[in-house]
């Protein structure tokens, strides 16, 4: 048991991270730090670092505001933002180095430029959120193109292969949708809590001017702006999802209608086969090795051929007429005609006329 427990011992856990200093310069690239040292140095509970620890699966994004630092953990970004330092944790398995380097470049640039008037920590958060939004947007566009292309292909023909791809895209879409919604939630959770918003003014706190009340317009506008953009993405994904869903529903109806059409054709063939079979039955009766007394009749052959052919045609015709009547499937019915109006979508006035009204008071 002891051995098992050591397997999860977090004390000797090393985290790789890139450090940017107060000037926005990269101080360390993928340096190794001990988890315990990190939590001690930045006054963070080791529990909070567990989410950063990249070996744990990680779907729900979080923005944790602690005494001296903000812990951001959204999609591919796992960062610890302080008033004069940013730590970017490496996420194992994140092969998307291009995304990461663009993010790092922008972060550096943004931390150096001091024209926007925002404090250091907000500029860091701005860069992080921009990278997140950018990633979401890219995936949204990617999925929209995938799905759009498939739906366009379905215009042509509905086949097995396309339906399978629909499944794969539909799963992917659902996963992305839930991811985007969780990002939106995380942002809104922070926006709703005045305490957290105040606590995020790390520079002010460090300089001994802790914020109070609801005077945090800069930060609010910043976060709101990103929140709106995520909302936009979520809304777009919702539209795509709606499209996929209504396509699925209608595809089912179309396959059903097509099946009925095929069945109709099948019936036509069956009826014709039955007709021909009846003819063959009659002919084979006369083919029996029994005396039918017409053997030598001159016109008997032509007569029987005519008769049986006629029977074939009559049988088939009757069957096909019955079928034709059965194949028409409209929604209108005798019921509607009985009501005589045929306008089922109209506002239906309250049907009170024929009732016994009781008094109104009680």
């Amino acid at each position: 048991l002891d051995k098992v427990m050591k397997g999860r011992q977090p004390t000797d856990l090393m985290l790789r991270c890139t450090v940017l200093d107060a000037e926005g310069n990269v101080k360390t690239i993928s340096g190794q730090f001990r988890k315990t040292d990190l939590s001690a140095e930045h006054r963070i509970n080791p529990r909070d670092l567990r989410k950063i620890d990249s070996r744990v699966p990680n779907i729900v994004p979080t923005i944790l505001v602690r005494r001296e630092a903000i812990l951001v953990n959204i999609l591919h970004v796992r960062a610890l933002v302080k008033a004069d330092m940013v730590l970017l944790f490496d996420t194992f398995g994140s092969t998307d180095s291009r995304l990461h380097s663009v993010f790092l470049y922008h972060l550096e640039h943004n931390l150096k430029s001091k024209t926007t008037g925002l404090p250091y920590e907000f500029r860091a958060i701005e860069s992080i959120l921009l990278s997140v939004i950018s990633a979401l947007e890219a995936e949204m566009v990617f999925i929209r193109n995938l799905v759009g292309g498939l739906l366009a292909e379905l215009e042509e023909d509905i086949d097995h292969d396309r339906l399978k791809r629909l499944l794969h895209y539909s799963r992917r879409l659902a996963a992305f949708q839930s991811r985007a919604q969780l990002v939106e939630q995380a942002l809104e959770e922070v926006l709703e809590q005045d305490d957290d918003l105040n606590a995020m003014y790390l520079t002010d706190k460090k300089e001994g001017r802790p914020r109070d009340g609801d005077d945090h317009e800069d930060l609010e506008f910043l976060l709101e702006s990103f929140s709106k953009q995520v909302e936009e993405i979520v809304s777009e994904v919702g539209n795509i999802d709606n499209n996929v869903e209504s396509t699925q529903e209608i595809v089912e109806l179309i396959l059903d209608a097509n099946r009925n059409a095929l069945l109709g054709l099948d019936l036509q063939v069956s009826i014709a086969t039955f007709g021909v079979g009846t003819g063959a039955f009659i002919a084979s009766l006369l083919g029996m090795n029994l005396t039918n007394h017409f053997e030598e009749h001159v016109w008997a052959f032509y007569g029987m051929t005519g008769i049986s052919t006629t029977i074939v045609i009559i049988m088939s015709f009757m069957g096909l007429r019955k079928l034709a009547k059965m194949r028409r499937v409209g929604l209108s019915s005798t019921f509607v005609n009985r009501n005589g109006n045929g306008k089922p979508k109209r506002w239906l006035p309250l049907p009170l006329r024929g009732r016994q009204h009781g008094g109104w008071w009680s």
Copy 2:
């Protein structure tokens, strides 16, 4: 990388917009302004203008209240309203010039007339919202007619083509529904925040009388009135959507029932074919070039013909009777009869009689 980044440089971005002055006269038509100048002049964060920037896709409508201006971005209208000026941004690709010119005409007219007692900025917002509502209403009527017409056609016959149109209308309906709901949300978001409502009294603010508390009845009534109208539209669209959905469900059931009916007819034909086939089998046995010892019998032919025809009829009759029994599919069952009441919709009293009651206290 540098080049790529310049591609999005917003500094040299020009926005085309129409300007109306304090008297409601059009000062500039589709004039070009630099984004940076605009944000500086009207004391707006460049970030806020990004939504106005028409190249970015734009689904979620927003009403942003800033220090000296209100930024409205709903459907086709992208406007910046100040206490003495209105800027209407041109939206690229908005070919609907008629809608736009009517809107402009009304806005001018409304800004000039001072009889309503509303301040300048509210008259501008009133015109904007009226144009929005009008556009929503128009599209709603358009879609309602499309869908209504299609549903009426489905009354006659359910075919492939109509189902495809149902898909297209259903997608369009869903998109419109989400659009209308987002407009409703945007209005309600503003209505819920007293701060924003107060901050929208731009004229009062400009004249040094900032509003406080919850004394903003004029504006509230104005926005509420439009909010109710959007609610009306959303509710109507919801009804259309319900109609489409229940139609889809029942169409599926009707296609299913029709398929069963077709299958029933198919079975009738199959059974008859089987009967005829049995007859033909018997006849062909006698057609074999083998001595059946009845070759010369005088009545054998008539006898065999009679016998095989009888077999055909018996076979078919038995099959058809079995089929007839199987085709009746009601919901009632022996189970219901066993219960003896057949009233499954009644309030079911608590079935406690046969139980062992434990005590009531614990």
Copy 3:
């Protein structure tokens, strides 16, 4: 353009309404009033009267509380209630004159009787809400009977016609449900706002004793009582809707199961046909005009007849056995037996036994 705009000019709009005075007597019946006069006289914004204007479609019910009046617009009732006067607006197209006259009779009676201790405006509102509830209840009963009757008919047989009626009732039910829910919402919206509740004490306001705080028990109890009744109706409609929905689902399953049964019968027939066909094939082989060397054999005919009949029976029997095996479709499977318990509904204990437990601390 000018002409078009005049088309909607509301200034010359006449509204027809019935007026009741402070004593509850009908002063004017369907008198014509100018909209502008009305809004001036009762100090209401013309915008508010637009909802009353009966030409506009009107789904969302509203209770607007204004300075000197309460504007009620629910279903068939469009009224303006003041401290000493009630105006009932005629709704064009409301052919339900009986409902209206009962309502008017009760309103008069209720306004005259002063025993309940409620002020004038509340007695008016009580009568209005009673009429609304009564109308909702009547329609609910009507729809419940329609749907109940149809579901009872479906017990017997599921056919095309009944499914079409199900569609019509289902649409109607959905429309009614949304209507009832909107009435419930409107009532709850008023109940939630203390301001509005206070402002509804028109008599007190008129006599210079405006209410404040949350001392409005009379009104609250009054509205709550109606709100509960609407809730009851909404809940009942929800139950009906659930019934319809689960019926639809099961009808689909039953149609599916029935189709499988039909297909099974079809297969039986097909197999028998195949058997007979095989026999006919063998017989026709011997019917060829070729020497089979048994032509004169005495027992050959009986032998071949016996053999081919046996083949027919064997073929059919094998086919039918294979079919019988295939037609049994239970949910139980080898998989369940493999687990050996067959109790999939039981509480499943946490499957931790076979795992490697890591330590508990982090």
Copy 4:
């Protein structure tokens, strides 16, 4: 009209009720009281008594707190609880006398015992809620057994009859679920309102010590405890409902898969029939009364028999091979293989690599 109104006159309405005095003794059994007397004596608005009036249908449970009394109306219990008296109203049509007598016995017992320290009115409410929970629990167990039994039967075979029972149980389950949820809601509504909780201390109020603020732990714990139990039942019912729903969905899939299997068998038979038919066609050609010049050939018969049998076998074999290929329906497709990973469930990294990155700032 007058007559009609009198039909609902509540003034002369008699209510039957059982009265328990302050000592917990039954004073009157099913005594008749006038509604007006009751409302006057207990200072209750007649409107409130309407819910008690057992002739009105009654789905939504309510707990109304009035000046001197608490009106409880949940499921089978309709009671008026005062500080020193409990009135139990008889509900017409409640045949479940056993449930009622156990309830009465427990109520008497509980009112007499004063050891729990709870005031009189709370002991009454405790007994009432215990009876309600007990009834809910009993019905839940009953339905769970019904549904569980049916689902177990469906394991064996899915037939018409069982699907019909599924419908009946599913309706019943839905009705029960809505009932349990409404009870939960009613309890929570009371728990959420501090005013109501305070007002329920009838004994304290009577003795001139009205409660204030949020010092009502006893009552809160009491109600919370029952609320938790109802929650437990609602949650259990939700699980059953989920079970039924997923069973329905999978049953549909299984019926679909079974139909495909049947169709496959049908095709096998059809193909074999076609093969046999082709053979019979060839044989019948040679059976024509025309000179085929092989009439006297010694081996011709065996040759033709061999050839046509071979054709039958080849035809059938080709058809069956084509069918076998078509019957395999997996979800995997060339598409997945093209991607080469086949792991569609994995976390999909953001597909940014191939994109043109724009800059990060705006």
Copy 5:
């Protein structure tokens, strides 16, 4: 009746529990305690202990905060935590002794170590929640593997057996999902109530320093951390559930498409059979024992054979062409072509052009 009531008498109920003292040492293992003694000793209402009583089914997890103790009842853990003592109740039927012993080991260890700075009761809760999360995580992984494996198998072929397993897994998934959500709810319920959070500082309370206001960061962070982990699990389960659902939907579509394909093949066979049947009919006509006057014609046999074979081929070809046309089922239709754009997914501009615009003011 008396006897029945005694059956539930809780007074003589013995509970088995393990006790840990203030030092974290196990004092008693599975000792028996009387319920009444327990409730008296720890000042808990007997009602609260009912949830602990393991014989009652127990789905909804609860954390009850009482005067001197915290009652935790989540999944397999039923504990009473005090400032210097922890009671772990045995749950009958909990065979998972390994999970329990690991939990006990960790709890002991955690109670002994005083380095974390957390008070005794919080360390107990930490261990409890860790065990709960661990159990949830284990089951989640287990189910994810089950479902993932099944979905992978469905890639290959959709058969009866796999669909049945899908049902079992789907039920299990739903049950687990509801369980995880209820745990999440229970945690959030506690987190939302400042009173409860304060009351959980048992050590401080015992030492006479009851907490007030919202100064409970330690506990909040502790609970929040676990709440986030449960959220993660719930979110993961939601994804699995989405996967299962969209798989079900697409499987249905694929089965439908496959059925259409089978039907198409069936039709091909039917058409060919019909063709062959027609040929056989013609041949059998000539096989009749009637004089057809070509008996002795030298080429007649070859002529008729040729003619009938040609008819067979023509018949089949026509049928198959008709079928081929019918089998193509795309979503595109003449309707889309009529509109000429074929881009149904694009933003649809407001269709106002062709309308009559009324004026904008009202």
